[in-house]
Symmetry: C2
Subunit: 557 residues, 2 copies
């Protein structure tokens, strides 16, 4: 037993990264002196669960307290100090100044290794009226309690920001029977996703009577009996409670004051072992900037999964550095559920690749989450993004009524394995009728991407404005009549008749084939291309572009 | 348009591989002459769905006919000949002899390229009484209709063979209210899996009142009012209907007679482009032997997914050979649902590695399919197998009440990407409370495997027989009392008290730590190891070894 001069580890922040580091540190060293300091009253709570307790989907508040200060102390034999703030770091003498917020006492604690896991704080813009107590943000169990109490008496609630948390809060407020307005600055919900990929989510919000306000933002709040949100457009929304969910910023005052290197957007910079520019000071979680898995550029991914793994890695590097592998970088895999729809992404989006000026190709494919002939098959839409230089998968976005998480996880794993579109086509995934399909949508995305790469089809992302273009709808006429394409002058020839009716098309003019899901349009494009037509095919079909619930066939009467 | 001397492709077998090849061939060549010959009356039907129509879970028979001969003809402009048998291949003149089974007429058809996709036939052992018409096998829509009709009048049904199909049939017969006996030669259901991994399935069968007979086989059938199955053990089972599901054998008479090279177990041998030893004759689907993805040894995987992709690859290689990538080999990913339990595998099992004399390591981990604090979390058990030489993942088996398919797919993708146990630990999977966990069970398996590799813990797969060994149960005493370990002389010290009660253990004797899921036992083992004990930890805990529904905590009163 190493009882002489045990290593002194001080951890600032006791939620995801901090608590993970403490637990792993104790497993690796019974001898170490471990002190966990948390500004709030709670440690290691399930912050991703907060919206669900507000809405009552999680019924027991206790369920959110993964560990209490007491259980953490008992299990890990560590010094847990809650309601305690670290006010300064003296890097020269390796001490932190701490202040007990309840007692007001201060103390100086020595460390050999220090981990900063301060997390992030919700952005609260300095708008007129912002200090009204009815305007809340959600980060802690106390925020949660406050919002839950306020929601109980509220009839109208405004959620500002339609990102992950905003969507979760919206769903939960609707669940409570509230009238909810959701205001988003950009012209779509879930701004990290490419525009088309959020249509189903937006439709689902409308279906659930959410007052969705896109492309607008709050300019000012006015207090009254209710709170009036004045939007930039001039519109007003009246609410009894406002929840701001417009993003978070890293909580890095301590790091900044200690002279630690920060990134462009203010995050703590770390190397692959989560060390700051002071090798005895580590940082992990929402406050840090790590590397993008694909490009190795600095990136901040404030999510629970990475925070947990980073905290664990810090303990590994402190206690058995030679066996520790560096952090592999972040993919930014994320998912959200809103009512019956799930949506998420992993890796890069088209939007982000465009902004970065990088080359890419995409396909968008529709399918069911499991074999269509088995009951309960649910639609799913997948957009795949890859690098044309080597076929490597760069990212994917998935939305649908089932199986979304599975496809995101498969593609996140594919990116981790540096797989190509050819590899996706060949993936051997689990298939039995309740679970998948002989050709899963991930295989289908691979097939479709390879078809594009091999010039078997020219995919287009929108219908052409060119009046010379012939738009060819290849669905059966009864389906076309029931769900017409919102466009004049569309030619309708169903696939089964196409070979016999080529004469109805003008070979001198380009053709764009269209169908419900994109597959039949591709089949038609192959026939036309081999018959001398200049043809392209609308990727993702009517369902991806115009109507996220567009049926692939009419219901059997 | 290439209309001169179009390539003549003849395809023998019109279900998964054959129909996929025909469809892809037509996309690649409008000019080709494509003939699809099928012995049965149906093409391109969903054979994985047959059990579910028998049990009424799939209600419409039409749903199983993915394509009819008519729709296939109309969509693909191919010559579809059902109820037609190919009786011989003349490789020298490149002709096949075909016989129309209805008309009795014969014909010789020329080919430039020939694809054999004859599939497999159910094994029907030559036992006394085997020809009784109440003994059925399931492969075609006609078999399905026959079994469905027979089941309607049956009260007792015996299913022989507890593999994938046997389990599906058992479930569906129970669904119909029948009394079902399931007889399996080996001492477990789902023989491809390692023994411990099927405990939950077996428990689920018992829960659903299935008469499960393991380690026994049918020696003879005796006809009477009911059919008597005499088992090797001397036991008898009386049934009104018997379904044999003891495996399939490749249907390769045609290939054998044509002098094509066959593998050791009688499958057609093919190269990476699915060519037989005659380069103008391809083979795909259940009748072929491809390569194992990991070892590159010959392997036969009679499953729908591979068959579909192989058929597609054949068309690719015929029509654009330079762009075609070879088949990457088979993982044997498979899954089955039986009542509320799903179970499956991908890659290699311990059983198979042992039989092959290959080196491996394993861990078995328990978790929930999503965050435990969110309602509806369901238990899941994952066994990971990896190569100690390089850490590469060799395979996984997963069983549980939810999320099984997702983890199999993630690990199948990880194997395809040649990921290691370190990579699994770092995978960034989609997490929101309804969908996953900050540390998914796949991450957990990676962590645990790395802990084993790094000698942080010595996992054991069973409790030692050594009477000197101290079995230490670290669960809370009330849980131990409610769900005791089936073993005498177990010491109980809950984890939270362990550091203070080390004196109760004998440092001179080895300790094996045990808990419900395996995690707390690992924590305890770390404390003991660092305090000078020789300690190992039961991997997978009580749940994996003794009771597949063993609770991790007592229900809150």
């Amino acid at each position: 037993m190493q009882t002489k001069n045990p290593l002194r580890l001080v951890i600032v922040g006791g939620v995801a990264a901090g608590a993970s580091a403490a637990a792993r540190a104790r497993r690796l060293s019974e001898a170490a002196s471990i002190t966990l300091i948390e500004r709030g009253p709670d440690v290691s709570f399930a912050n991703c669960g907060l919206p669900y307790f507000i809405g009552g989907e999680i019924k027991q508040r206790d369920a959110l307290a993964v560990q209490t200060p007491q259980t953490l102390k008992a299990m890990l034999a560590i010094d847990v100090r809650t309601s305690t703030e670290v006010t300064g770091i003296d890097r020269a003498t390796k001490h932190v100044q701490v202040r007990n917020l309840a007692a007001g006492t201060t103390e100086s604690l020595p460390y050999d290794k220090l981990l900063l896991a301060p997390g992030a704080v919700p952005v609260r813009p300095s708008l007129p009226g912002i200090d009204d107590p009815r305007i809340c943000t959600l980060r802690s169990l106390q925020d949660m309690d406050r919002i839950k109490a306020a929601a109980a008496g509220a009839q109208h609630i405004a959620v500002i920001g339609a990102g992950f948390i905003g969507l979760e809060m919206t769903e939960q407020f609707v669940r409570l029977g509230k009238q909810v307005s959701l205001v988003e600055l950009t012209d779509q919900v879930l701004p990290p996703l490419d525009g088309l990929m959020t249509k189903l989510l937006e439709d689902e919000l409308h279906k659930n009577h959410v007052n969705l306000v896109l492309g607008d933002s709050v300019a000012a709040f006015e207090a009254g009996n209710a709170l009036i949100c004045r939007l930039a457009s001039g519109r007003t929304i009246t609410a009894d409670l406002v929840v701001l969910s417009i993003g978070v910023r890293p909580d890095t005052t301590l790091a900044r004051n200690a002279g630690l290197a920060l990134g462009k957007r203010g995050h703590i910079r770390v190397n692959g072992f989560m060390q700051t520019n002071d090798p005895d000071i580590y940082a992990a979680g929402d406050a840090v900037e790590t590397e993008d898995f694909i490009t190795h550029e600095p990136v901040a991914v404030p999510l629970g999964g990475p925070a947990n793994r980073q905290g664990r890695l810090v303990a590994d590097h402190i206690f058995h550095p030679t066996e520790t592998k560096p952090y592999t970088g972040a993919l930014g895999t994320a998912i959200v559920r809103a009512f019956d729809v799930a949506a998420g992404l992993t890796g890069w989006t088209e939007k982000r690749l465009r902004a970065a000026g990088r080359d890419f190709r995409t396909v968008t494919v529709n399918d069911n989450d499991h074999a269509g002939y088995f009951p309960g098959a649910k639609p799913i839409l997948l957009k795949l993004v890859w690098d044309p230089a080597n076929g490597r998968v760069l990212g994917a976005q998935v939305t649908g009524l089932g199986g979304v998480d599975k496809r995101l996880d498969v593609i996140a794993t594919a990116i981790a394995g540096r797989l190509t579109i050819d590899d996706l086509a060949q993936l051997e995934l689990a298939y039995a009728p309740p679970f998948g399909a002989a050709k899963d949508i991930v295989n289908l995305a691979g097939f479709t991407a390879c078809n594009t790469r091999d010039s078997l089809v020219v995919p287009v992302d929108s219908l052409p404005d060119d009046p010379a273009a012939q738009i060819l709808d290849v669905r059966p006429p009864p389906l076309v009549q029931a769900h017409p394409l919102p466009r004049a002058g569309v030619i309708n020839i169903p696939l089964g008749q196409l070979r016999g009716r080529l004469g109805e098309l003008d070979r001198a003019r380009p053709v764009v084939t269209v169908c419900a899901l994109g597959k039949t349009a591709y089949f038609a494009a192959r026939i036309l291309a081999q018959n001398g037509f200049r043809v392209s095919s609308l990727t993702g079909g009517i369902r991806a572009h115009f109507d996220p619930r567009s049926p692939a066939k009419l219901p059997t009467p």
